[in-house]
């Protein structure tokens, strides 16, 4: 049976307390905290992180298709999935697709993955879902939203959970929506959306599935369901007839917020992390209708435990000091990075294309004569001078700081004069394979950066020169 082979997740390190958001506006707080994508993160980079987590210990070359589900792709015309596939070092003949336009995109991607596997056109399909939504400042959504990503590897061999069934219902009700020219999603009437959309569609899809599989609410160990807000989720549990205390998977509202497209999958990942064999979990999303599917865990669910970071990312966090920093990270407050940069007469985009292997999947070279690993890739070994006698090798993802600087002149992306907020920390990092690279650092506390500090590579937006989004790798302190 088609099922889930592996899972992964990603939550950015930054949090802001809802009290601080409320304080900035003089409004009421919903309590708890929400996650915030850093200024150099977006749904594409978070999908890479969740994908990496999901593929830990696996050969990325075995993946046959990659789907990227989001309503916040950083690119209107350009497929994010192809870049994600390159960053994850997948094969060149994989099927890639951005699945977007609805918060239901994550579960749609799961269905498409299942169908591809069933049809025999793919053995393993990686589903990534990520969102970094921006809400109107001071609106309730600003407190409700959170940023994050989830990933599932779908296939037939070695599954940790069978997908027993899948049901869909569509319902093109008004909200939420966002036109191409809008930064913020709009709602016509939240109560209408909840009553005639969410609380109608999700139970409908779940009910269709329960009938098909002949299941009753007590058969479910957990339910992992999206909701536009925590109160609506509780409302849904009532309609579904499940006990919110024992059966509802933590909706992650107090720690992360509602992440949008990835949310149901993120809750599913959290449920799978705790699940015992032979347990059923309902996963359901909603957006212009609803998708529901039920998984039943196998013995193998135990084997994956502890091998993925998954929702442990929630525990590893740093608090944003102020609402202003939050607003800058979300692009609501323009700090001049990268919008105010002088135009560059020469675009590095060609080089970005030419050196893709060095930039996206992060390969270096290993000299066949002296054996040294170096970066970037050139015809002549920088250590022994040997010409045209090397192999390209994937660089290690971890290392130690040899030395570093907090550069107040060049900001992130070597941008002058910086982002106006932070100095850019750069570190000469000795990777575990012996290669030394100069990396920008991110997600760090300036005071904690030290020689010999352990760091790991993280995929980020480097800069936006020539109006092209240049992605690549940075170093961050190893997240606990």
């Amino acid at each position: 049976m088609v099922g889930i082979i592996s899972y992964g997740a990603y939550i950015p390190i930054w949090r802001i307390s809802r009290d601080e958001i409320a304080r900035a506006h003089g409004s009421a707080t919903m309590g708890g905290e929400r996650s915030v994508a850093s200024f150099d993160e977006d749904s594409l980079t978070m999908a890479v992180e969740a994908g990496l987590d999901c593929l830990t210990g696996m050969d990325p070359k075995e993946v046959d298709a990659l789907f990227f589900a989001t309503v916040t792709s950083p690119l209107e015309e350009k497929q994010a999935a192809a870049m994600i596939a390159s960053a994850l070092d997948l094969r060149r003949d994989v099927l890639t697709a951005d699945i977007t336009g609805t918060l239901r995109a994550g579960t749609i991607a799961v269905k498409m993955a299942m169908d591809a596997v069933k049809a025999g056109s793919a053995k393993k399909v990686l589903v990534t879902a990520a969102d970094s939504r921006v809400a109107v400042p001071s609106s309730d959504l600003e407190q409700i939203f959170g940023d994050g990503a989830a990933a599932l590897l779908i296939g037939e061999d070695g599954v940790i959970a069978d997908i027993e069934g899948f049901s869909t219902v569509i319902n093109p009700i008004p909200g939420p929506w966002r036109r191409e020219v809008d930064l913020f999603p709009r709602r016509f009437e939240a109560k209408l959306d909840t009553r005639y959309g969410y609380l109608h569609d999700l139970p409908t899809a779940a009910g269709m599935l329960a009938k098909k599989l002949n299941l009753s609410p007590k058969d479910l160990a957990k339910v992992a369901i999206y909701g536009p807000d925590p109160r609506s989720i509780l409302g849904a549990t009532k309609v579904l007839g499940i006990d919110p205390k024992t059966q509802l998977q933590d909706p992650l509202f107090s720690t992360v917020g509602i992440t949008g497209t990835p949310h149901a999958l993120l809750m599913l990942v959290a449920a799978l992390e705790q699940a015992k064999p032979d347990e059923r979990i309902l996963c359901a999303s909603q957006g212009e209708g609803s998708d529901a599917f039920v998984v039943k865990t196998t013995e193998k669910v135990e084997e994956l435990k502890g091998t993925r970071r998954g929702t442990n990312y929630i525990k590893s966090k740093m608090m944003l000091p102020s609402y202003a920093r939050f607003a800058a990270f979300k692009g609501v407050l323009d700090t001049g990075w990268p919008s105010q940069l002088p135009e560059m007469p020469r675009s590095p985009v060609v080089k970005y294309w030419r050196d893709e292997k060095a930039i996206l999947p992060f390969y270096g070279m290993k000299c066949k004569k002296c054996g040294e690993v170096s970066y970037p890739i050139g015809r002549i070994c920088m250590y022994c001078g040997e010409k045209d006698n090397y192999e390209i090798v994937k660089l290690a993802r971890r290392g130690k700081i040899y030395t570093f600087v907090h550069d107040y002149l060049f900001g992130p992306g070597n941008i002058q004069p910086g982002d106006g907020i932070n100095p850019a920390t750069k570190a000469a990092v000795d990777l575990e394979d012996g290669c030394r690279v100069l990396m920008e650092m991110t997600d760090h506390d300036l005071k904690e950066v030290k020689v010999d500090m352990e760091v790991e590579m993280t995929f980020r937006l480097l800069h936006e020169r020539a109006k092209f989004r240049h992605y690549g790798w940075k170093a961050r302190p190893v997240r606990g």
Binding site: D355, T403, P423
Partner: protein
Amino acid sequence: MGRITDKVAIVGTGVTKFGEIWEKDHEDLLVEAVYEACNEANVDLRKDVEAAWVGTFWTFSGVAGDAFADPLKWYGKPITRVENYCATGMDAVRNAAYAVASGVYDIVIAAGVEKILDQGSRGLPDLDKMLLGAEVTLNAESAPAMFAMAAVRAFKEWGWTKEDLALVAVKNHYNGARHPKAHFRREITVEMALKAPMIAYPLGLFDCCAMSDGAAAVVLTRPEIAKELVGDEYATIKAMGLAVETLHPFYRKDWTGLAFPANVKAAEMAYKEAGITDPRKELDFGIVHDCFTITELINYQDMKLCKLGEGAQLIRDGVTTIEGDFPINPDGGLKCFGHPIGATGCRMVAELTRQVLGRAEGLQVKDAEAGFAHNLGGPQAVAIVGIVGRPDWKPGEK
């Protein structure tokens, strides 16, 4: 391999006031320096000078031979523009010197100019554009960041501190306060340096040289012609060493930050050419590239004035003050002159000449007969060392 020792004489020097010179452009500055040098050398630019080398780092300070031809309206002559990072100015002198030594030309000019302030005063202009345009694969760093990373290692390995760095700034500001052409002519205290804003941690404002405009020029000829022009009032070039290393040292695991390979090689070349085995005993003083205070301390070591790790001890012991055993940067260095890149090395050669001819009023090194000048450019990528002395100076212990 041949030697340049005593084959080339410096007969004239011209140096503009360095600083924020808003009212003059790069052409005005170059004209000022070149005419001053010709005047001192008793040569006529249009009648006597046969060829010129001009150093400009940025294209906005002049490109091609026209960087010299147009300001001076000196057309139809062999002129070459030189660019070699912060070694640009001294490399113009080096190329001009070899042309004289070859016997092809009798009298030549080496000059350099940079007009930085017009492009903005917050850090070197356009570096990010250059680095990013060429090397999207690689991360880059601002100029102070390149050396801050060495300071972090020196602090870790040898226990050097920010106070040690501050001592360098205090010493150079003391000297610069006495030089009429310096940009900064104010003494500072250790406390001021330590309290200054951070530029590239751990380097603060006073650890960094200024952003300045300026130009310099020297007239070179063969010693026998020098005597006709200026009598005994000339110096000779004893050696010129130049070494180029990678632009991306932070991608090499053999980069330690404790010694700069280009420095070490350029110094070895120059000392060998001049016949020097112990520079601390045989030379009288030095002018090193103190783009940042940490650079000066590491330069002490690379220039073989002390052993590895002992650089900070020299400044603590006062060895390198103008009254010390081996004065370094008696002019105030880049700390006080700033670093208009094309001009700097050329200015240093002029400064060496002034010192060995006893013309450095107010900051004269006692009994200066020979000294070295040094530049280190880019991320420690290019180093040049020139040794200049009185015509009769010979290596060996004093």
